[in-house]
Symmetry: C2
Subunit: 320 residues, 2 copies
């Protein structure tokens, strides 16, 4: 059973310990990267030895600027810290060997499986970065400009620049303190939220032009073909959060994105709903799963066939 620690208690433990290796989750996002990088920087400022485990899964090119302190080959950590990682299944492959020896996990997911010896968990926080902020604020150096910058990346990316439903008063308060501490929010927002790649803009053009509406415009279906990806030169990074697009249209209660994967007979569906429509219920009909408002499934058919299938499945739900 894990021992639950407050941010103060974490700071006290960090003070009396040394030689840390920090693990981020696989396919690292801004929160896990920003949190790990900020914690590493904060500990370095306290004279500690600390590295980040190199994450072999691709880091989005939009986050390459977040400083990662890669451990040299001969570094033997005394303590392993996992940040923003709810379960050991989310560990990158090269962290597997540490899964039974995590000293501390700092996280904001209520689904955390308490796999670490010590856990600092607050599921009220929009971003793990808020907890790192709480920890660093109890340490002598508090939050330096480079630490503030990385924590701003964590908070802003996990909340869609403070626009998502998870954004709390505390998120905004911490963000204000980070900007006071020197986080260059203007420059970061420009890169993270106000710049679109050619691939992204091309895909948005093709996707939005092709959206189909059904059931009195309450259902919107977007399609992504491999041909579209080729034409626009878009890659995975360019599709970040694209599944939110059809669901963001006024009056749409069920937004569906059908994406052709490795072959024309292999479609991945992402479903986003507004209450009371249940995305999980829709995807369960095809053996998929997820949450009430966001779920996914796979249909081994072509896009037009998958569309027909899902519209058939929606008939009862939309007309009840």
């Amino acid at each position: 059973m894990s021992k639950l620690l407050t941010p103060d208690e974490v700071a006290a433990w960090l003070k009396e310990s040394d030689n840390f290796l920090i693990i981020t989750h696989k396919r690292p996002d801004g929160d896990t990267l920003g949190s790990a990088s900020a914690l590493a920087q904060g500990l370095k400022e306290q004279g500690k030895t600390v590295f980040l485990l190199y994450n072999p899964e691709t880091t989005s090119r939009y986050l390459q600027f977040v400083k990662q302190y890669h451990a040299p080959d001969d570094f033997t950590p005394e303590h392993i810290i996992a940040v923003d990682t709810a379960t050991t299944e989310l560990f990158p492959k090269n962290a597997d060997k540490y899964k039974d020896s995590i000293s501390l996990c700092i996280d904001h997911h209520s689904s955390n499986t308490l796999y670490a010896e010590k856990v600092c968990l607050n599921a009220e926080n929009a971003a793990c970065g808020e907890i790192i902020f709480d920890i660093l604020m109890t340490m002598p150096g508090k939050v330096s400009p480079p630490t503030a910058e990385r924590l701003y990346v964590a908070l802003s990316t996990d909340t869609g620049c403070f626009s998502f439903g998870n954004t709390t008063a505390y998120t905004l308060y911490v963000a204000s303190q980070l900007v006071y501490a020197g986080a260059p929010n203007k420059e970061l927002n420009k890169v993270l939220f106000r710049t679109k790649s050619h691939g992204r803009i091309g895909m948005e053009g093709l996707i939005t032009s092709g959206i189909e509406y059904h059931f009195d415009d309450k259902v919107a279906i977007a399609s992504i073909t491999r041909k579209m990806m080729e034409t626009t030169g878009a890659d995975e990074d360019d599709l970040d959060d694209i599944a939110a697009l059809p669901g963001s249209i006024e009056g749409v209660c069920v937004g569906i994105t059908i994406r052709e994967m490795s072959s024309p007979q292999d479609c991945k569906l992402s479903v986003r709903t507004r209450s009371p429509y249940d995305a999980q219920e829709i995807c369960a009909k095809f053996g998929g799963g997820g949450h009430k408002l966001a779920a996914g499934c796979t249909i081994e058919k072509t896009i037009p066939e998958a569309k027909t299938e899902v519209l058939k499945a929606l008939k009862d739900i939309m007309q009840s």
Copy 2:
């Protein structure tokens, strides 16, 4: 000459006065409306009589929910207050008669012409709503939930949900206090920033599909025809900030939007640039004007002709 007041001094003056009429600027945006509505609500909570002047210019349908306290025909105000309005030229027509008798102007534009008897001006603020917050916080009731909601509309709309370059640490701090005070940021963000109309989504699809790149992709040109507006059913409200689109593309330094206006021989150009490119310099070549990074002009030619003209004008600038 205007007398400059601090927020404290404004609060003291408001306390000893009564019967206010509040003026917003023409084509009201979220900041002027939210600021006026919040100030009215705050004053009402102090037992004052206060109304907003009905603004005959169209209010965007996305802001119709912000409560406006329309003055009854027989109301004779003692004091006129203008909010977020830099000059009397920005007054709506039915406020013209008051232009020499404004008791107080509360504003954040450095271009304010100091036309009012008393002025509370802070050009450091991203939104006028921040100054209204400062004023209300010195009053006994401080910020009630309805006041907080309206000030959140003011702050969030003037900063693109805290993503624009004008967002400061203080903006984020005030936003956090508003959410603590009861502003429903989750619901407001959904309506203001995370919902797109059918007209908007249709226009974005057509516009992004038709973007043309020139000068090694450093210049992006988007076109908006009347036919596109007809096809998508989009109206003026749906085009809000659309001129930012071509300029938001990775690597683009000059983003140009050419819009066909009342006739095919009447084009309006909006130019957005990144430093060192000067939007004003480009538009001045066609008799237009604006700011260094955002300017506009009119070219009395068709879209293809206007495009040729502007590309010709850009030749020296882009190759120097």
